[in-house]
Amino acid sequence: MARAVTNRRKTITTAAAWFIAFLIFFPILWTVLTSFKTEATAIADPPVFVAFEWTTENYGTVMERSNYFRHFMNSVVISIGSTVLGLIIAIPAAWSMAFVPAKRTKDVLMWMLSTKMLPPVGVLVPIYLIFRDTGLLDTRTGLVIVLTLINLPIIIWMLYTYFKEIPNDILEAARMDGASLRSEILYVLTPMALPGIASTLLLNIILAWNEAFWTLNLTAAKAAPLTAFIASYSSPEGLFYAKLSAASTMAIAPILIMGWFSQKQLVRGLTFGAVK
């Protein structure tokens, strides 16, 4: 019901917003542009923006050097796997907290969140030893387990806030209609909370995709995701801006594209109960 906005004002806001958005986006754009340059053009002074000879040779070099596809698949499996597993554990938990609140519910939730504050470096050695003894080192399973545990609190919290917005009445109606607990969650709660679940899924895929400590320290070759792929570029020899850019672009492109496509979902769901 906002008042009609004058075109002049709209033009000014548009210009300002586009300018700032461009600034924020620029590092990524620059990386992508650089990935198509030769090493010499990449460091040229003054820098060239688009008027250079585009080449894809950097991508070739990078592909040749490491098995991008395997890293990529590992990233996909690990991030999706851990998120889905997390959801499976979190949905019942969030149901309990949202619909059968007890005095302790809030404390339990806060305690769960506080487990996320443990500095991972502090517990790397114990975890490494446990993983060694259980044969989980360098396995996707191992990483899925760790990332599930790491992201579980956030997943539970997000779901909890979405579930709380679902009127209790509807679940009770289902109960009156003869639905068992399982049907209630499966046929009523989950579909209703779908937008929330979707954005939880997305956010946690992103977090898992970008997790760089455990994925790097608990894998060697077989299960190493893209974070490990990029780690081999952190300081290569000689001129490397273009190759670094190519590798970076390849590491972030999948998640960036996914993020863009699901942007609406993600934004809509990103509230953490902050909006009321």
């Binding site: 769960m112 487990t115 109960g273």
Partner: protein, 290 residues
């Protein structure tokens, strides 16, 4: 609601999550605690012996400890400040009617998807490098001496990089909160004679309080353990100018392979993190309940 049947069902359904997290917390934690009382260097296996509080004494007396503590606070505080102030302003801007709002949003959200390692590498090499970085080129183009970010303002540079990554997150949450502000409330304030700055101070900011708390909570959780960005850009230096607690613990346990001291550091970090946690939870609890 709540019948006996549903309460027991609830207990059953929450238990997997609780048990898992409890295990995830207690098992490594107790091992860490145990190690922290040992003289335990990875490079000298078989020489573990009880060390009492020696590891703690050693870690806490490290001159780097206090600067790490201070750096951690600066880092978290600085990033929170930038992302929240920037996020509020950006959210206000994006919320205005404009052409191509969708695209603007897509551009603004992008840094959030970038891996910390990648963003640190890109910023360090392609922007902040004092010889061939873009900032250096820009400085030279306007006749200034290039500024050596990572050597002369290491902490500030890291704050900048991490803020860039988290700004979208803050902006998005604040934007959704902003959009939930009842437009009638703003109109009422307008009728009551409040101009824009007044509306911002008296209506918008209080309305955003809750969202801001959430941003603080979530970001703090992640920011307390910033690591990759430091490792890639400055390695904690120069000196200990950009060493935070996490990095210090890392240095102890994985550079020196002194697991004993590292574990003691880990325990200290966990205690400090929990102090922050309790403080935050209090704040959040208050703000989220209403």
């Amino acid at each position: 609601m709540a019948t006996k049947a549903s309460r027991s069902a609830a207990r059953l359904m929450i238990s997997p999550a609780v048990l898992l997290l409890l295990g995830w917390m207690i098992i490594p934690l107790s091992l860490t605690l145990y190690f922290s009382f040992l003289r335990y260097n990875l490079l000298m296996p078989g020489m573990e012996e009880w060390a009492g509080l020696a590891n703690y004494r050693f870690f806490l007396s490290d001159p780097a400890f206090f600067s790490a503590l201070w750096n951690t606070l600066l880092l978290v505080g600085g990033i929170l400040l930038i992302t929240i102030v920037g996020g509020v302003l950006l959210a206000l801007l994006i919320d205005q009617p404009m052409w191509g709002q969708g695209i603007v949003r897509v551009l603004v959200i992008a840094p959030f998807f970038v891996m910390p390692t990648v963003s640190a590498l890109v910023w360090k090499n392609m922007f902040m490098n004092p010889v061939s970085g873009l900032f250096a080129h820009a400085a030279k183009a306007v006749g200034l001496q290039p500024f050596d970010f990572l050597a002369h303002a290491p902490l500030m540079s890291i704050i900048l990089i991490v803020s860039w990554q988290w700004l979208p997150f803050a902006t998005l949450i604040l934007l959704t909160a902003l959009q939930s502000l009842d437009s009638e409330q703003l109109e009422a304030a307008e009728m009551d004679g409040a101009n824009f700055p007044n509306r911002f101070v008296f209506m918008i900011l209080p309305h955003l309080a809750r969202a801001i708390t959430v941003v603080i909570l979530i970001q703090t959780i992640f920011l307390l353990s910033i690591f990759a960005e430091i490792l890639v850009t400055t390695n904690g230096g120069p000196g200990t100018a950009s060493t935070n607690l996490t990095f210090l613990v890392y240095a102890e346990s994985l550079l020196r392979f002194d697991v004993g001291t590292g574990s003691a550091g880990g325990v200290v970090a966990i205690i400090l993190a929990n102090i922050v946690a309790i403080f935050l939870m209090r704040m959040i609890g208050k703000n989220l309940d209403t």
